[in-house]
Amino acid sequence: MGILELIIVSLIKIIVIAVVMLLTVSYLVYFERKIAAWAQNRIGPNRVGPAGIFQPFADVLKLLLKEDIVPTAANKQMHTLAPMIALFVAFSTFAVLPVGPSFTAFGKVFSFVVADVNIGILYVLALTSVGVYAITFSGWSSGSKYSLLGGIRSSAQMISYEISMGFSVAGVILLAESLRPIAIVNAQSGWMWNIILQPIGFITFLVSAFAETNRLPFDLPEAEPELVGGYHTEYSSMKFAAFFLSEYANMIISSALIVTLYLGGWQIPYLELLNLSAGWVVILQVGAFIFKLVFIMFFFIWVRWSIPRFRYDQLMNIGWKVMFPLSLLNLLWVAILAMIL
């Protein structure tokens, strides 16, 4: 493949992913509100369009038209930069996550991933660690006590849970013997999904993913009753929307990561027994990935409206005294498993 062709194909993939992610994010917000209403025995948004399906566009328009307020005590450049970092991290992580298997059409091999790099999982971890800056800077630059407290809380939380997340991922890498997301998915063929082989690792990763995305029950950075709005207290208009967007985009990425690492990615067990043509197999497998992704995203929302918020010391205790040892234990188990298999 020539360099020009590579650039064009990659650009098309990037545009498709960006558009699909933006649409998914807006409808994720809609479904979050609908499911919340359902959990609390309400109706939820039902005014804009049939059953309120145009609500996300109305929300975005409202945020666009609002006045952008920057506090006098704020550091202007940093205040603007922080939501940009948040968005950059949220959107660029998806580049290495494969949606489906590679397939051959018109004599060329296409793959459902923007960049198939052999350090893929480390790339995701690197971007997650850069994501801390968005929240730290937004907390510091707002010039408000609530923001600073939220920012500091959030950074401490993300750094603490990054450790157990990293150790859980190490277990997956040990079994797949590769850092390439595609190789990790291929290693989970049939029923050899990592959720079955290493259930403890799955649980530690899931809990860390909740903490990393600042979702309830770990949404202490923006705990409304204590911190007004946490790190985004002083944000308004599109800058607030950028944080909101990146939070939901992070949720999609965490779900995709869980599916790729633990739920076998696009794999469907016993699909090869049906003797389907290659085209159908690809379509079914991409469908399987999307189905798993939607289920995990529903799980995120379901947990949010079922479990109350943890206290800050409880959060830290769980992170350091429960999740960290458990992820180490999982690593030991995987090391034994790798010797048997």
Binding site: N75, M78, L179
Partner: protein, 172 residues
């Protein structure tokens, strides 16, 4: 012949140079820290061009992701912008800093323009493609360099425990 590699190298190199100048000239230490992070990112890009993917990602994870966040915490919580200028309190230090700076600068000039390349550098150029990958680094760490690697691990563990003991005065 201008290749893609040269264009990318120039972009990353210019970013690295400009940000490193900005790091030392900014008054606000938080802005300096931000430019240092950008500098690390540009360096990671240069590592990628050298086929050292693992080093590039570790550069971002360890330096940009972990160490600089801790630096930022210290800067934010101590608020050094309200403190007196270091050089105003120690006027003699300015001259010492100048001397050290000039010595380091000429050292760099000497190595870049007058240093001799190792004679084996051209033979190993093709092999360098394999060296940067995570497989070869892992193999090296667990075979040839096993003892130094484990020793470094023990030192880091000891340092972590030491920090814990220093920070916590009473154990319950």
């Amino acid at each position: 012949m201008i290749t893609l590699q040269i264009i990318l190298f120039s972009v990353f190199a210019i970013i690295a140079v400009v940000t490193s100048i900005l790091v030392v000239t900014r008054k606000n230490p938080i802005i300096s820290a931000l430019f240092l992070v950008l500098n690390f990112a540009a360096l990671a890009g240069i590592y990628l061009l050298l086929n050292a993917q693992f080093i590039a990602v570790v550069q971002v994870i360890v330096y940009a992701g972990a160490i600089m966040v801790l630096f930022l915490f210290v800067i934010m919580l101590l608020r050094p912008e309200h403190e007196k200028n270091f050089f105003e309190e120690n006027p003699k230090m300015k001259w010492l800093a100048l001397i050290v700076g000039v010595v380091v600068f000429f050292q760099l000039i000497y190595t870049i323009f007058f240093g001799k390349l190792s004679s084996s550098i051209h033979q190993n150029a093709e092999k360098s493609v394999e060296i940067g990958t995570i497989e070869s680094i892992g193999r090296g760490l667990f075979t040839t360099y096993l003892i130094p690697f484990e020793a470094a691990g023990f030192l880091l563990l000891a340092a972590a425990i030491g920090a814990l003991v220093l920070a916590k005065k009473h154990f319950d």
